[in-house]
């Protein structure tokens, strides 16, 4: 089952896909066109946990060697935007890139979960685009929040899809298109630290709660984006998440 959260006609709504293509069915029974709603993150977002360098090909692309422990960083809720949102690229940036990632949404509290039990804590999946601006990298708690936790830098959606609809853990193709051109691809089977490992590792020291989300990292193929670019991140069976790069002027800068 797929679920979205949208704003329509003055209120927030839970929604599911309508029977006709391009439509949404709101919880109150109305059927509306996809372009007529504002898409929010498809669940109430708790702690955002993100992985760096979690695909061997991407780690190589950035010239990093294998790690013995996952590279984990956290993001704040203010960075989140939904499907069809706009993300600002500052005029002084020379390298801003998308990162298409499988987002794993926790459904049931997990504390010291074993690898064997880990997947039972997963509610579902969505698509994440975890933007970075490499110009602002500093070697302190790297990747630092100025690179990773910018307003609009965490794109989530469009749908939260039930974990039960997929193999456990899922093996899914990821693709990113910029202005329709395929730029990035990979498959979640190539994760260095897979989803059960991550849940076991994280829950050993931090209790995971419903709404917490793990962005599992991105494969190779990141590239610079420009103002006006349409960036679409796709994960097989989960959805196609669209975002547009905006300039400073739109934000009054």
């Amino acid at each position: 089952m797929k679920r979205a959260r949208v704003a329509f006609a003055g209120a927030l709504h839970d929604a599911t896909p309508g029977t006709a293509p391009g439509t949404l069915r709101l919880a109150d029974g109305r059927v509306v066109a996809e372009e007529d709603v504002v898409w929010l993150a498809p669940f109430e977002v708790g702690t955002i946990i993100a992985l760096g360098l979690n695909y061997a090909d991407h780690a190589k692309e950035l010239a990093f060697s294998a790690q013995d422990e996952p590279l984990v960083f956290l993001k704040g809720p203010g960075s989140v935007v939904g499907h069809r949102g706009r993300t600002r690229r500052p005029a002084d940036a020379t390298f801003m890139h998308y990162e298409c990632e499988l987002a794993v949404v926790i459904g049931k509290p997990a504390r010291k979960a074993s690898r064997a039990a880990a997947m039972s804590h997963v509610a579902g999946y969505t698509v994440a685009n975890d933007y970075a601006i490499r110009d602002y990298l500093e070697n302190w708690y790297r990747p630092n929040l100025r690179v990773k936790n910018r307003d609009g830098g965490t794109v989530l959606g469009p749908w939260l899809v039930d974990a039960a609809d997929f193999a456990s853990p899922p093996q899914l193709d990821l693709r990113t298109f910029v202005n329709g051109r395929l730029m990035q691809q990979g498959n979640t089977r190539d994760l260095i630290f897979d989803v059960p490992f991550l849940i076991e590792y994280l829950s050993a020291f931090m209790t995971l709660s419903p709404g917490d989300v793990i962005l599992t990292g991105t494969p190779e193929g990141v590239s610079n984006v420009a103002v006006g670019d349409e960036v679409a991140c796709e994960i097989e069976g989960i959805g196609r998440l669209v975002n547009t790069i905006a300039g400073d002027a739109e934000f009054g800068r």
């Binding site: 984990v72 956290l74 302190w140 708690y141 020291f205 931090m206």
Partner: protein
């Protein structure tokens, strides 16, 4: 669960969002304590922009509740910090106007497992359950004359073990709010910790801990081994 859903309401009429950001190396003496290492790999240069970290909701404990440590023989490093409570959405605010966006202040015990590398985000050390105590109350901004000149004292089992100040920072409260808001909007109820002086004391399970900050009162808590906390 570590997060008490009472937390947002524990400081009425102030309401916390549950989002807490800390800042690394804001005290000049903290960076100086690293000496030449701050210029060597892996850091290569001292921080330029504010280096932030997140204290996620699993770390937060309400006034009166205990801090937790998993290893009964281990130590927690106690970061005694001034918590800046954001009053309204702060996006790209000028330093000269930044104080208008501050609702008040509260004491925060930002605890971590000791770690000596700041190169990678130290999530396993800093994001542990029940490692961030907040209290006893939010004091209105108007009631604190100069947030950048407050004495900070840490007491363990009633004995003073550390004394510092909110001064001596690279960025005082107004500058910090301004510089952070340049790249991320701070929301009402968010807490921004203004940094930790060097030489943070360490505590073990069984310790009682108090942090006093001039004008903000006294945060009292204790450190409990996870098993004793029934976990």
């Amino acid at each position: 669960m570590a997060l008490s859903f009472d937390l947002p309401f524990a400081f009425a009429p102030y309401r916390l969002s549950g989002t807490v950001y800390g800042v690394l190396m804001n005290h000049r003496a903290a960076l100086a304590a690293l000496g030449e290492a701050a210029h060597q790999p892996p850091y290569k240069a001292p921080p330029k922009a504010p280096v932030l970290y997140v204290k996620p909701r699993n770390t937060l404990v309400t006034p009166g509740a205990a801090l937790r440590i998993d290893d009964p023989a281990g130590e927690l490093e106690v970061g005694a910090a001034l918590g800046i409570v954001i009053g309204r959405s702060a996006c790209r605010v000028a330093e000269s106007e930044a104080m208008d966006f501050v609702a008040g202040y509260v004491i925060v015990a930002d605890c971590s497992l000791p770690h000596d590398s700041y190169f990678r985000p130290a999530i396993r050390f800093k994001a542990r359950d029940a490692s961030c105590a907040i209290g006893p109350k939010v004091v209105a901004r108007a009631d604190v004359a100069d947030p950048d000149a407050l004495g900070v004292r840490v007491l363990v089992d009633g004995r003073p073990v550390h004394a510092a100040s909110t001064g001596g920072t690279f960025r005082g409260v107004a500058r910090l709010v301004s510089d952070v808001s340049e790249f991320m909007t701070l929301a009402p109820g968010d807490l921004l910790l203004a940094g930790v002086a060097p030489g943070s004391p360490r505590v073990r399970a069984g310790a009682s801990l108090a942090i006093e900050v001039d004008g903000l009162g006294r945060l009292e808590t204790r450190v409990v081994a996870a098993e004793l906390a029934g976990r």
